[in-house]
Amino acid sequence: MSALRALLVAATALGLGATAMAEDKPNPPADAKAFQDYFVKKFPKVAFDDFVNGPYSMNADMRRQWEEKEQFPPYEFALEAGKEMFAKPFKNGKTYADCFPNGGIGIRQNYPYFDDKEGKVVTLELALNRCREANGEQPYSYVKDEMASLTAYMAYTSRGKRFDIRIPDDPRALEAYEKGKEYFYTRRGQLNFSCASCHVQSPGERIRAEILAPALGILNAMPIYRSEWSGMGTISRRIVTCNSQTRAVPLEPQSDEYRNLEYYLSYVSNGLPVSGPGARP
């Protein structure tokens, strides 16, 4: 036991030493460039904009099936429901459009953003529920159904617009970004996986029957209809499920960690078009 502890202390000390040397100032634009270069170099045959199509950009066979399916996409019902819900006024007569810039149309690419009043990251899903609460309505579950339908519609009206996530000149925004990055690379759960273990190290590889999507552009396709779920899922649902699949206890949807993670992951995908709602096997 004491030998193990000594080993641990030594390992921690080594880790500290190594980072102290490599410690440099946070530099999000350089991060994003390195991140995007990594994927472009790893997959020279994949067109940059195609990364938003996840596994379909990596596997020709899946792509053929998907292209056929896209003529009749499985998210169509959710999209239609979302459109109706979005237009339907709340009990007080106001609508979602009143809560968002440009009436909520074509704005998906600007989410999440850093809210300087709250000092935290605000995601689209969070903004939608806050809009409901501000108008005296009950918030929706973050993982599926109504939330997925609403975000599906909002993504659809923004298709093709390029992600444009901003980090304002505010130390709290930079800190949120850095924390999101830390969450992305931190191993967790009994299986000792980080987000990066699958979506940076092994995109295009199989994990059981699935083909892993690249982290680059992974949020651009959200929300998604997953055949495995036989239904729609939001970004919250995707992250929560990733956690539990590595045998980590998921955090509350829209907890600070998840909001920061979404901020980081969206920022490094800046420049890629919105392709959501998406369909995945």
Binding site: K69, Q71, F72, P74, E76, F77, E80, S227, S230, G231
Partner: protein, 103 residues
């Protein structure tokens, strides 16, 4: 409520290519809900496509078909502008139908 059926029928040479997506839970009766209670079976039993009073496609379905099923087939003998009627009936006696125009 919008129709539970989506149809696209396109004439390609002598073949009318038909694609359909139907919104239906297709519960098998074997799955439990969050409270641990069985969700009763609820599935489409028969799906029919009719062109000029003639059934061109008939499917007898059971619980093995997925939720929100998708069907694709082709048939001969149709012309542009013809009507194609789609209808289903499920094990609870519910039914829905839609008439599409072949394009």
């Amino acid at each position: 409520m919008a129709s539970s059926i989506r149809v696209r029928a396109i004439l390609n040479g002598e073949n009318a290519e038909v694609q359909t997506l139907i919104q239906h839970p297709m519960d098998t009766g074997l799955v439990k809900d969050a409270k641990g209670e069985l969700i009763p079976a609820h599935y489409i039993q028969q799906l029919t496509f009719t062109h000029k009073d003639k059934t061109v496609f008939l499917a007898d379905w059971g619980t093995a078909v997925s939720k929100d099923p998708y069907v694709k087939f082709a048939f001969k003998g149709a012309a542009k502008g013809d009507e194609l009627k789609v209808s289903w009936v499920d094990n609870k006696g519910a039914t829905d139908s839609l008439t599409a125009t072949i394009q």
